[in-house]
Symmetry: D3
C-alpha cells in the first residue's frame, strides 16, 4: 500500500487521473459538535430566528465543499453535480450532527468535498455560538459511504 500523492522520488504531486473513467460518484460524510445546553437552546430556541444558525452553517458548508480544491493542496478541482447538508440536534446527548452528501460526474471522487463540507459547517456553528460557550468540541468526522469509480463502493 502506498501513498499516491507522491511521485517515485517521494515528492508531492497532484496525481494523474487522465486515464481514469468519467463516472458518476457520490460520497457522504458526517461529523458532530458537542455543545452545552445553553448553546443547544439558543440553536433550537423557540423564536422566529430558529434555524438561522443551522441555515448559515448549511450555506457555509455548501460553499466550502465547492472550495475544497483551494484548501486541500493536492485535490483536483471537481465541478460538483450536487451538495446537500443536513443537521440533527440531539438535545439529550448535547450534540449537533452534520451530514454532507456530494456527487459529481468525473474521473475522481468527492470524499474530500463531503468531509470539507461537514468540517466547515461545524466550524460555522462553533463561530456563531462561541459567545455563549467556547468549550464546544468537533469530532467524529468521517466518511460514511462512497460510490462509483474503480475502487467501488465503500461503507464505514
Amino acid at each position: 500500500m502506498e501513498l499516491t500523492h507522491f511521485d517515485e522520488n517521494g515528492k508531492a504531486v497532484m496525481v494523474d487521473v487522465s486515464g481514469k473513467n468519467v463516472t458518476r460518484r457520490t460520497a457522504r460524510a458526517a461529523g458532530k459538535i458537542r455543545v452545552s445546553s445553553g448553546v443547544m437552546n439558543a440553536v433550537l430556541g423557540g423564536s422566529a430566528e430558529k434555524g438561522d444558525v443551522l441555515g448559515a452553517a448549511r450555506i457555509a458548508g455548501i460553499m466550502a465543499a465547492k472550495k475544497t480544491s483551494e484548501l486541500i493542496p493536492l485535490c483536483h478541482l471537481l465541478p460538483l453535480d450536487s451538495v446537500r447538508i443536513s443537521f440533527e440536534c440531539d438535545k439529550e446527548a448535547g450534540t449537533i450532527s452534520a451530514e454532507c452528501t456530494v456527487s459529481n460526474t468525473g474521473k475522481t471522487g468527492v470524499e474530500m468535498e463531503a468531509l470539507t463540507g461537514v468540517s466547515v459547517s461545524l466550524l460555522t456553528i462553533y463561530d456563531m455560538c462561541k459567545a455563549i460557550d467556547k468549550r464546544m468540541e468537533i469530532g467524529d468526522i468521517r466518511l460514511i459511504e462512497k460510490h462509483g469509480g474503480k475502487s467501488g463502493d465503500f461503507y464505514a
Copy 2:
C-alpha cells in the same frame, strides 16, 4: 447569554467590532486524526520522503488559517501576526495530533483561525493517506487557550 451573530430581529450580522480595543490576541486550538498502522507507517516511513505528508498538511493549515474569513460567513477578516502548526504522531494510540497557534493585533480574536488551521491540516492528512485507508476519523477539535481582548484568558 445570547448569540451575538444576530441582530435584534434575529437576522445574521457580522457583529460590529468598531468600539473594541486593538490588542494583541492569541489562540491555540488542537485536534487529531485516528489512523491505521498502515497510514502511520507511511507517514512516519523511514525514507527520504518522511515528513512530506505533514509538511504539506502544515502548509495547507497555515494557508487555511489565512482564509478563515472566506470560509466562515460571519468572521471578520483579520490580518494575522503569526500562524504556527505542529504535529505529534502517537504510534501506540494510532493518532496524529495537530495544534495551531495564531496571533493577531486587532479588535477581535483568532479562535476561528486556529480551529480552521487545525481542521484543514487534518483534512489534508486524510486526503494524502486515503488511498491506504478511508476509515480515518478526525476529532477532538477544540480551543485550548485564548488570550487578549475583553473576555480575557481562556483555558480549556
Copy 3:
C-alpha cells in the same frame, strides 16, 4: 474633477491612501429586485422554510462584501468592522428591497463594500427563484449615505 484611479499618464492605479487618516467610516447602500407574485409568494410562503431565500441571500451578501477587493480591480482590501444586510418585501409593489450597511476603521471608505453586498444578495435571490420566473429585474442600486473620511458626510 478627475478620475482618481489613473496616474498622470492615464494608467490605472490603486490610489495611494498612505497619507490619509485612519478614521471610522460607514456606508449604506440599497437596491431592489422586481419579482412576480409567484416568486413573492414563494419567498414569503407560509411554511417552515419561510425566510430561507432571504437568509441565504443575506449570508451571500455579507460574504461578498468581504470579497469586494477581489472583485473590483482597484479597490483596497479593507478589514471591515461590521456588515449588516436587511430585506423588505413589498407585496403590492412586487419588489424585495435590500440594504447593506458596512463600517470600517481605515484610510478609505466602504461604499463599494456596501454596494457589492447589496448586488450579490439580490443576485442570490434571483438565483434561488429563477426556476419560477426568469423575468426578475435588479435595479435602484445606489449609495444612500456615507460618513467619515475627508469628503465627509454624504446623503443621497
Copy 4:
C-alpha cells in the same frame, strides 16, 4: 411552481444536475449605470487613455463571471466556454449600458454568470468614477436571452 434550491424539508441544497444532459448553453444579460455628465465626459474623454474605465470594467466583469459559483451560494461551478462584455455609452440619456454573453457546455446554464458579469462590471465603473460623483445608480439588470438545456429558449 416551486423553488428548486430547497429539499423536501425546505432546506437549501445545491440541486442535483447529474441526470441532466450536457449541452451547449448560452445566456445574455444586460444592465446600466446612470451617470452625471461629468462622469460621462471623463469616461469618454478625448485623451489617449479613453476607454480605460471601460477596459478595466470589462476585465473585472469577465473575471467575476468566472467567480460566480464562489459568490452565489447554490450555483454550480461551471467551466465556461466564453465570456464577452460590451458597453454602450448614451450621452443623451446619461447611461452606460453593459451586456455580458456567456456560454458553456454542461448540465446547467449560465444565467447567473452573465448577470454577475454585468453587475461587477457596472460596480467597477461606479468605483472608478465615484470621486467625481457618488450619485450614480445601477439598474435594469436582467436576463435578455438564454438558449440550450431542457427549459429551452428564453427571450425577455
Copy 5:
C-alpha cells in the same frame, strides 16, 4: 497573425472554445532563480529540515496552477488532470531550476497553468529565503513543450 483575446472591435474577450475538441493536453514549463551561496546552503543544508523550502514551494506551485484562471484575466477555468513540479539545485551555477508539468482533458491547453506553477514556486523560494539575501533573480520562465489540441506539438 492576430491576438485572439480580442473581438472584432479590439475589446478583450474570453475566447469561445465551444467548437474545439475535447482532447488530452499537456504542457511543461520551466524557470529558475539565481541565488547566493548562502541561500543555496540554507536550501540544501544538511539538517532534518532539508527540503522544506522546496517542499513548500512545490505545494505553492501546485496550488497556484489550480488558481490560474483567477489570476490571468482571460484564461478559461480548466479542471486539471495532473500537476507535477520538480526542482534541481545547481550549486556551481548558483541556480535552482523549477519545472512544472500539467495535463488536462479539455478544449484548451494548460500552458498558462504550467507557467503559473513555475512562477509561484519560484516566488515562494524567494519569499522563504529573502531574509538571507534579497538579490535573488527569477528568470528563464518559458514553455518547454506542449501536446494535444489543434495547434499540435510544440517544443521550445
Copy 6:
C-alpha cells in the same frame, strides 16, 4: 544567517511580526518578457485598441498583488496602501519591461506583493499573445528597491 520561515525544529511557520513596528513601507520590483517582433507589433499596433494587452496586464498585476498572501504560503495578509504598475516596450531589444511599486503601513514589507504583481502582469502578456508566438520568455524578475522597516533601505 538563517531562514526565518522555520521554527527551531525546522518546521515552516508564518513568522511572528507582532513585536515589529507599524511603519510605512514601499517596494519596487521589475521584470521583463522577451517577445518576437510579431508580438511587439500586435501589442503596439497602430489601432484604437492599442494598449489593451498592457491595460489587461496592468489590472491583472494589481489584482495579483492584492492576492499575494493567498499564493505565497507563508506571506502575511497585508492591506496595501497603493499598487502601481508600469510597462515599457523596447522595440529594438524586443522586450516589454514591467515595474510594480507597492506601499503599505504595517509590520512587514511588501516585496512579495511587488514581485507577484510583476510576475502576473508578465504572465498575462504571455497569455494574451501566445496565439502569435509561444517562445516568449519571462525573466529579470527582481527587487529594485525597498524602504521602511527594521532592515532599512535596500537598492539592487
